[in-house]
Amino acid sequence: MKLDPATIERLEAQAIQYLDWLKRWLEPANLARLRPKLEFQTGILAGFALIASVLLGVTNCSTEGTIQQRLDEDLKYSLEEVVPAALHDNDMLQDTRNIPSAEYNIGAEQTTVYLAKKSAAVTAVCFKFTAPDGYSGAINMIMGIDRGGNILGVRVLSHKETPGLGDKIEVSKSNWILNFVGRSLDNLTPAQWAVKKDGGEFDQFAGATITPRKSVQAIYRGLQLFKAHQAELINP
């Protein structure tokens, strides 16, 4: 489409006219005259709300994909922490299975299990779970289990436990959480799945017993969840 010079000139003149009007309208004196008017106030409030929502909506839509990608990368990183790279050659984020977990008290009705496969056979599974009853809120964890039910690794993803006392469950603060590697429901009795104070196998921390106790119990429940679905998970 090509416009003839006369039309362009007319449009330009019109645009200049509108801009001029806008400039005059935006003069502080003119705005001062308008400000006490109720319809101006309503319009301004609505206008600001509209601009803010459009801006937020556009930003949200345009970054949604990128943010999801970043979150996937984070998840992948946590999965790699608890499932050794040598055990799988698939993309664990794509190989998932949902199992009901409401009765295990691990913070979710449904748990997404990530399957680690080598040559199309499941070698290990990995899932996120929660100790909902930590000392000051939920303790979110992730655990990798091999096909025989032995723990490959556990990590704490987030928690609100007391800094300096309960935060020893983090691997960066102490290696307490590494004690779980190789443990399973078979090589420890249910009574041993507890902190030493309760007659079990695992250390508590000086000044903080509840945090490790609840962590141990949640890991135990996670293993039970795996055991209940072991057959269908390792032979998909």
Partner: protein
Amino acid sequence: MFLSASFRKIAADGIWNNNIVFGQNLALCPLLAVTGTATNGLGMGLATLVVITASNGLISVARHLIPSEIRIPVFVLLIAALVTLVDILMNAWAHELYKVLGLFIALIVTNCALLGRAEAFASKQPVKEALWDGLMMGLGFTLVLVALGAAREISSSGTLFANASLLLGESFRFLEVTVIPDYKGFLLMALPPGGFIMLAFLIVGKRLIDQKLAFKKAPAVSLTEAVIE
């Protein structure tokens, strides 16, 4: 001096005389929540600095448009939208930084200091002054956060700027120092009550310095007054 007198006054007000925490006693909620370590304080301070400067600028640009009857909802709307924007954009494009600072960004919405500056300064001043005021107020706030964070960190765990390399990048690892080796730790200071206690000490310190300065400026007057009384 390369700054005019009014700009110098804004800077002095923001950093010392009318400091958000010491002068106005605002923003205590985010202040006490994050100053467990100096690094966290610095992170929160920098995030606030950016947002308060932007919100001051935005509100100053739009100041003639905003009738005083509806100014509060408009300010709240602008600040909330701005914080959410920063939050979303950082999550997408500066994800590593977001994982460290993300918690603080959301807290900025609860920072009444932003609304305070919008109301008391930005809505009445030209854009340049408003931006400068935001910058200086943010700087003053950052300094207090770092000071309080450092004092609490040293007394609670004997370290200073622990994990600074997570926030600022590997090149800032030199900031991480152990001030008191083999320190047993003093948990109270890491917990919220420790924040209140340490803040009280800092405020006392600031008042003492102010008193000394005032005394120096007019020693004769205050001396005679004291004698007469």
